[in-house]
Amino acid sequence: MNVLQTEALTINFGGLKAVDAVDFTIKDEVIGLLGPNGSGKTTFLNLVSGIYKPTSGKIVFEQADITGAGPNVVRKKGIARTFQTNRLCLNLSIIDNLLLGLYSQQKATWWQSLLQPKRCNKELIRGIEKCLEILHHFNPSLVARAYEPITAIPLIDRRRIEIARSIVGSPRLLLLDEPTAGLNAEETSQIIGDIGKIRNGNEKISMIIIEHDMVVISSICHRVVVLNAGKKIADDCFSEVCKNEQVCKAYLGG
């Protein structure tokens, strides 16, 4: 049972095919998405998460066609993502940033906040408890600091908050865009551990991870897909892909 599949997914930016007829499937597993810079990895994630509309091709998520759906619809269906540039709301508190991750799963409307405060408070309290529980998994010391602004914590913790935000709403598929960029070796292994905890947890979350760090890829990915100039050139387990001639050529040149 495929969680996600794309069929000949293509996007054309005025003549440049940033993603070129990519067929991709993912089940309950972690897939690494590799390729040299400019090969279309982030563009692929942008297509799947709805930020870009494909020029042609299909995206099917849990048997439903979501081609062309906007990012907010895609999120509600169960695909969450993080960003290469660590996008958090800087002048909101830690707990507020986490609560944003629950927005798509909550229901309180503006008039319910005014006329049915009890129901909204119940939803809020359940949400805060879930956020604190997830926060505790990532970094227990932050739980006591939940009302502090994001600007008060270091980069590695901000990365964790962004990942926590993406899973607190129980997505079915998680797209991670270079989660260890800018981190040192120690912090990278902490993030690997955090991602492992997600996989070992109660909820089934499939993941697509864009990474350049092969240590991360080899330790947590079941499979690896390699893109080059928008085309898929390899789709296999990591050890096989390492031996693939086309892949070596793409990374190291002819």
């Binding site: 990012p71 709301c89 909101l92 909550q106 503006w110 906040s113 805060i128 006591a144 602004p149």
Partner: protein, 389 residues
């Protein structure tokens, strides 16, 4: 032992802070222009001192724990205001301050979503004109026409919101400026809307047979008619504050703040940008429309000069001075600017200059305004042990 002394300390703080706030506003109201400016500078200084010494969090916490007591002080102050003011003109200024505070709270929804809206006076005017024309031409009760005014203003808010959806930052502000100017020109050039002469003889509100434009006698004391409107306007302001605070702390308010910070983050968390932004426009416009209805039925005359671009600028100033995205702040900003503006009537030439000067000084010295935006604290979640405030 220690707990009860902390409790009574917080009670004392909350009562003292609300009393001081009311006293400072009173001084600004009854004194000359110098007094009002001095109060403003004093208030800013006190805030800066409280922040630098780290006491400001303690003050906010005390106020949050004892909202009832601060509210009582404020309610008493409003109730006795007609008795402690020497003339009806000052009472009129207080009423206008309340009306403008409602507008400012509405504008705050849009500013808190990252949309600096220069068409607020058009929403204010839509409420005023709709309510006045329906009451005069169809003889409907002013209470009912005010509600229609709110609906009309909210509708205009949605209409103005649509072009704003596709734009951001400066471009959005520019579009709202154009829409405001179109509104003003439309009023001037349409005779059944009053044209350049405005609309006179707008009926007052009445409770049964008594019109609110008559003086009343309570406990044997004479109250001028402005007192009726004072109580009406400030009751509605209280309601508006309640709505603004509840929305701020809700899922809706969080979405607005997310949009203001980073639209890509907002949309990838499932927020429908269109619905959220249009809601901010509609609700903000509804507040302004309510204030417009109150204004028309209070002053009995409305003219296009009351709803033009310079008025929109004034509302923006109120929100900037008071503190963007802080409901209490924008109300204080509105009250202070209304008072200062009235005091400057004697210096007619300098009024617009004064707004420009205040704007420049605030943006340079304290861009976050009198009461800066606060981190959301969820009072409803106090019982969660791990969540320390």
């Amino acid at each position: 032992m220690h707990k009860t002394s902390l409790f009574s300390q917080n009670v004392a703080i909350s009562i003292l802070v609300s009393f001081t706030g009311c006293a400072l506003l009173y001084i600004a109201l009854i004194g000359p222009i110098i007094a009002a400016l001095a109060v403003l500078i004093l208030a800013l200084t006190l805030m800066v001192v409280a922040e630098r010494t780290g006491k400001v969090e303690h003050l906010y916490r005390a106020l949050a724990c004892h909202q009832g007591k601060s509210l009582t002080v404020i309610i008493v102050f409003v109730l006795i205001l007609p008795l402690i003011l020497s003339n009806n003109y000052l009472l009129h200024v207080a009423v206008m301050g309340g009306i403008y505070s409602i507008v400012a709270l509405g504008l705050n929804f849009q500013v808190g979503t990252g949309m600096v809206n220069f068409a607020t006076a058009a929403f204010f005017g839509t409420g005023a004109y709709t309510s006045a024309l329906l009451a005069i031409n169809f003889g409907l009760s002013p209470w009912l026409t005010t509600v229609f005014g709110m609906v009309a203003a909210a509708s205009l808010g949605i209409i103005f919101g649509f072009p704003a959806l596709k734009t951001r930052g400066y471009y959005l502000s520019l579009i709202t400026m154009s829409l405001q100017i179109i509104f003003t020109l439309m009023i001037i050039n349409t005779s059944w809307l009053g044209g350049p002469n405005g609309i006179p003889n707008i009926p007052a509100y009445s409770l049964g047979a008594t019109s609110l434009r008559m003086p009343i006698i309570i406990f044997g004391m004479d109250f001028p008619y402005q007192a009726n409107y004072l109580y009406l306007v400030y009751s509605l302001l209280g309601l508006a504050m309640f709505v603004a605070l509840r929305l701020h702390n809700s899922r809706t308010g969080l979405a607005w703040n997310a949009i203001e910070q980073d639209e890509i983050v907002a949309i990838t968390q499932g927020i429908n940008l269109t619905k959220s932004k249009l809601l901010a426009f509609a609700l903000g416009a509804a507040f302004a429309g309510l204030a417009g209805g109150l204004y028309g039925h209070y002053t009995s005359f409305i003219g296009v000069e009351d709803f033009d671009f310079s008025k929109s600028l004034v509302f923006i100033c109120m929100v900037l001075l008071g503190g963007m995205d802080n409901p209490l702040g924008v109300v204080l900003g509105a009250l202070m600017l209304t008072i200062i503006d009235e005091k400057l009537r004697d210096f007619a030439d300098y009024r617009m200059l004064m707004y420009s000067v205040i704007l420049i000084i605030i943006l340079l010295a304290r861009p976050q305004g009198l009461l800066p935006k606060r981190i959301r604290i969820y009072q409803a979640a106090k019982s969660i042990v791990n969540l320390k405030i």
